[in-house]
C-alpha cells in the first residue's frame, strides 16, 4: 500500500493473509460468510510463461501449497488473535482471463471456518453497484514506497474513479479496462495499492445499513501510485451472482 497508514487493530476484521507454508505472505483476501475467502484469481496460479492462458491450462496452487491467516495485523510476526486456516478447495471465476485480468476473482473454501470475534469477522457483499466518487478503503501487506514491505497491515482511503476516465488513461498504455473492473485513486497519484496487496479488500461503509461491504479486490495496475495510473480492482458486485452461487452466502 503506497502512502497508507497503519490499520487500527480490529477495524478491518475481514482482512485475510494468503501465505506460503514458510509464512511468506503473497496476497490478501477477505473473509466471506463463515468459511470463504475472496481474493484475486491471479494469486492462485503459477506465474505464466506460455501465451495459452485459458482457465484449464493454468496450473492452480494446490490447497496444501498455501494457507490463510485471519485476525492478522503484523506482516511477519505472529499476532495474539491470528488464526491460521487450511484450504479445502479453490474456485477461480470461470471467465477469468489471466492475460487481461478480466474477472480476476477467486474463492477459497476453508477446511474449517475461523472462530469469529472482535478481530475476525466477515465482510458483507455489496447490495448496490459501486458509485463513482465514493470513498473506499483498501488495505494490504503489499509493498510501500521504495519497495519496502510494511511491518503491519496498511490502508489508504481513496475515491472510486469514473470508469471511462480510467479506461482512457490505461488505453494510452495499451491496457484494457473492462466492465468487471473498478478504478480508484487520485489523478495525481499518491495513494495506491501495490505488489503483494493483490486480492486484498476494497471496502466502503453502507451508511443505510451501517455495514461495511466489499466493493472490490486488488487486481492490477501499472507502477504504484504514479500520476494517471489508477489502481484497478475486480468489481465484486459485477460477479456477486457467481460468488453467491458458489458460496451460498447472503448478507
Amino acid at each position: 500500500i503506497i502512502n497508507g497508514r497503519p490499520v487500527q487493530k480490529g477495524t478491518t476484521p475481514w482482512t485475510a493473509m494468503l501465505s506460503h507454508p514458510d509464512g511468506q505472505p503473497f496476497c490478501g483476501g477477505s473473509l466471506l460468510g463463515s468459511k470463504w475467502i475472496v481474493t484475486a484469481a491471479h494469486c492462485l496460479h503459477e506465474v505464466l510463461d506460455s501465451e495459452d492462458v485459458t482457465l484449464h491450462h493454468l496450473e492452480l496452487l494446490s490447497p496444501s501449497a498455501f494457507k490463510i491467516i485471519v485476525g492478522k495485523l503484523r506482516r511477519t510476526q505472529s499476532d495474539e488473535n491470528e488464526q491460521s486456516l487450511s484450504v479445502k478447495q479453490v474456485f477461480l471465476h470461470p471467465l477469468y482471463n489471466a492475460n487481461t485480468y478480466e474477472n480476476d476473482v477467486a474463492l477459497v473454501e476453508l477446511s474449517r471456518g475461523p472462530v469469529l470475534n472482535d478481530f475476525v469477522m466477515p465482510i458483507c457483499l455489496p447490495q448496490e453497484p459501486p458509485e463513482e466518487g465514493a470513498m473506499v478503503i483498501v488495505s494490504g501487506w503489499g509493498k510501500q514506497f521504495l519497495q519496502r514491505f510494511p511491518e503491519t497491515l496498511m490502508e489508504i482511503e481513496i475515491p472510486i474513479v469514473d470508469y471511462r476516465i480510467c479506461r482512457e488513461a490505461y488505453a494510452l498504455l495499451k491496457k484494457k479496462v473492462t466492465r468487471d473492473m473498478i478504478c480508484a485513486g487520485e489523478k495525481e497519484g499518491g495513494r495506491d495499492a501495490c505488489a503483494g496487496d493483490s486480492g486484498g479488500p476494497m471496502v466502503t461503509l453502507d451508511r443505510k445499513r451501517g455495514q461495511w461491504h466489499l466493493v472490490g479486490t486488488v487486481s492490477w495496475g501499472v507502477d504504484c501510485g504514479k500520476k494517471d495510473r489508477y489502481g484497478v480492482y475486480s468489481d465484486i458486485f459485477h460477479n456477486k451472482a457467481w460468488i453467491q452461487t458458489v458460496t451460498g452466502v447472503s448478507n
Binding site: 487500527q8 478491518t12 463463515s34 469469529l116 469477522m121 466477515p122 465482510i123 457483499l125 482511503e157 451501517g210
Partner: protein
C-alpha cells in the same frame, strides 16, 4: 265283451248301430289315455229303451272308483237321463263305458253313437290336493305340467316343492340374528337348513327366540313334520316345533349348530332368533396416569380389546419401548393380555448443539420434557440468527423440539458481516 281303447280319440257305437241293438248284450269299452290327460265323451245319437232308473237298457260311464253317469231312454225325464248335448269328463286318464241291453225289447231302439278324445288336464288350475300341487309356480303343457320355484329357491327332487340351499350358513360374529328362510313369509318346503355359529374357544353362545315362532307340528306326535334342533357341543336340544318358542338357551359352548328341517307340505311362517356370544369377564381396568382407555366400559369380556393412549405430550411406555398406543385384549381365561402400561412424558432430550450459537433452558433444572422451552441464540455480536427468528423451541408432544417458524429444523447462525467492533474515524475530508 271288453274292448281296451288306448287312442287319443275315437268313436264308440252300440252293436249294430245304426240298426237296432240286440237284446241281452253287454259290452264294455275301457279307454286309457296318457297321464296328464282326461277323457271327454259326448254322444251324437242316443236312443235306448227307457226304464225306471234305467234298470233295463243303459249306458254307464264310470272310472276306477266312481260312476260318472248312467243313461237310457230317448229324453231325460225325472227318472231317466239321456246325455243330450252333455259332455262327460273323466277325472283322470281312465274311463270305462258299459252298454247293456236286457233280454226283451218290444220296440226297435237304435242305440247310440258316441265320441271320445283325450283332453289336457290343466294341473295348474285344477289340482286341489295341496300334496300334489306345485309349491311356487306351475307350468301346464299339453299332457302334463311342471313346477318351478321363485328366485333363490331350488326345485326339490319331488319336482313339486321348492327348497332353498341353506346348509352352509356360517356365523362368526359375536352377535347375530338367524331366521328361517324368507322369514316372516312361510318357509320353504323340503329343506334341510344348517346354521353354524362358530366362535373362538372361550366364548359362550346364548340363543333367544324372538317374534313369531311357527313351525308345523302335530297334536299328538312330537314334531313329525318340521322341526328345529340345536346342537351345542355334545348336547342336542329339541326338536322344537309348534307355536310356543323355546326359552332362552345358554349353550355354554363356543360352537353351535342349528338344524332346521321342513317336509314337503305346510305353510308355516318359521322362526327368528338372536344370539350373543360372551366370554369370561376380565377385571375392570384403571387408565394410566396421563392416559386413557378406549372404549371405556363397565365390564370387559373375552375378545374385548382396549386401546391405551396417553394425553398429548405423553407416550405409552411398555417394556421400555415408547409407542403412541398400546392394545390389550381380554383373554378367554378372563385375564388381560398385558398389564396396563404407563404414560411417560415426551422427552425431547438434550437439544442439539448449535454451531456458533448456544442453547439456554427456560425451565427449572434444564427440563427437556413436553412443553419445556429452550432458546437458541447465536454468539453475538459475531453471529446472528437467519430469518431473525426468536430461537425459542418448545418440546412437542411428539418429543421433538419445535420452533413456530422453522418447525423441527435447527436455526442457523450466520456470521454478522461488515460491522467491526472497532470503528475507525473515516478520514475522508
Amino acid at each position: 265283451h271288453l274292448v281296451e281303447l288306448n287312442n287319443m280319440f275315437g268313436q264308440i257305437q252300440s252293436p249294430g248301430y245304426p240298426d237296432s241293438y240286440p237284446s241281452d248284450s253287454e259290452l264294455t269299452w275301457n279307454i286309457t289315455v296318457p297321464e296328464g290327460f282326461r277323457i271327454k265323451l259326448y254322444f251324437m245319437h242316443f236312443n235306448l229303451e227307457s226304464s225306471y232308473l234305467c234298470e233295463y237298457d243303459y249306458v254307464k260311464v264310470e272310472t276306477e272308483d266312481q260312476v260318472l253317469a248312467t243313461f237310457c231312454g230317448r229324453e231325460t225325464t225325472d227318472t231317466e237321463q239321456t246325455p243330450g248335448q252333455e259332455v262327460v269328463l273323466s277325472p283322470g286318464s281312465f274311463m270305462s263305458i258299459t252298454f247293456r241291453s236286457d233280454f226283451s225289447d218290444e220296440e226297435r231302439f237304435t242305440g247310440f253313437d258316441a265320441h271320445y278324445m283325450a283332453v289336457d288336464v290343466d294341473e295348474c288350475t285344477e289340482r286341489e290336493d295341496e300334496e300334489l300341487s306345485c309349491d311356487h309356480y306351475c307350468h301346464n303343457y299339453i299332457g302334463g305340467y311342471y313346477c318351478s320355484c321363485r328366485f333363490g329357491y331350488i326345485l326339490h327332487t319331488d319336482n313339486r316343492t321348492c327348497r332353498v340351499e341353506c346348509s352352509d350358513n356360517l356365523f362368526t360374529q359375536q352377535t347375530g340374528v338367524i331366521t328361517s328362510p324368507d322369514f316372516p313369509n312361510p318357509y320353504p318346503k323340503s329343506s334341510e337348513c344348517l346354521y353354524t355359529i362358530e366362535l373362538e374357544e372361550g366364548f359362550m353362545i346364548s340363543l333367544q327366540f324372538e317374534d313369531i315362532f311357527d313351525i308345523e307340528d302335530h297334536p299328538e306326535v312330537s314334531c313329525p313334520y318340521d322341526y328345529i334342533k340345536i346342537k351345542a357341543g355334545p348336547k342336542v336340544l329339541g326338536p322344537f316345533c309348534g307355536e310356543k318358542a323355546p326359552e332362552p338357551i345358554n349353550t355354554q359352548s363356543h360352537s353351535v349348530q342349528i338344524l332346521f328341517r321342513s317336509d314337503n307340505s305346510g305353510e308355516n311362517r318359521g322362526w327368528r332368533l338372536s344370539y350373543r356370544a360372551t366370554g369370561n369377564e376380565c377385571p375392570k381396568l384403571q387408565p394410566p396416569v396421563h392416559g386413557k382407555i378406549e372404549p371405556l366400559q363397565t365390564t370387559y369380556s373375552f375378545k374385548d380389546q382396549v386401546l391405551i393412549s396417553c394425553n398429548t405430550g405423553y407416550k405409552v411406555l411398555k417394556d421400555n419401548v415408547e409407542m403412541d398406543t398400546f392394545q390389550m385384549e381380554c383373554l378367554k381365561d378372563g385375564t388381560w393380555s398385558n398389564r396396563i402400561p404407563t404414560c411417560k412424558i415426551a422427552d425431547c432430550g438434550t437439544p442439539a448443539e448449535l454451531e456458533n450459537g448456544v442453547v439456554t433452558f427456560s425451565t427449572r433444572n434444564n427440563l427437556t420434557t413436553y412443553k419445556s422451552e429452550i432458546r437458541y441464540s447465536c454468539q453475538r455480536p459475531y453471529y446472528k440468527m437467519l430469518h431473525n427468528i426468536t430461537g425459542v423451541y418448545t418440546c412437542s408432544a411428539q418429543g421433538v423440539w419445535m420452533n413456530e417458524v422453522l418447525g423441527r429444523s435447527q436455526p442457523t447462525c450466520l456470521p454478522v458481516c461488515g460491522t467491526p467492533t472497532f470503528s475507525r474515524n473515516l478520514l475522508a475530508r
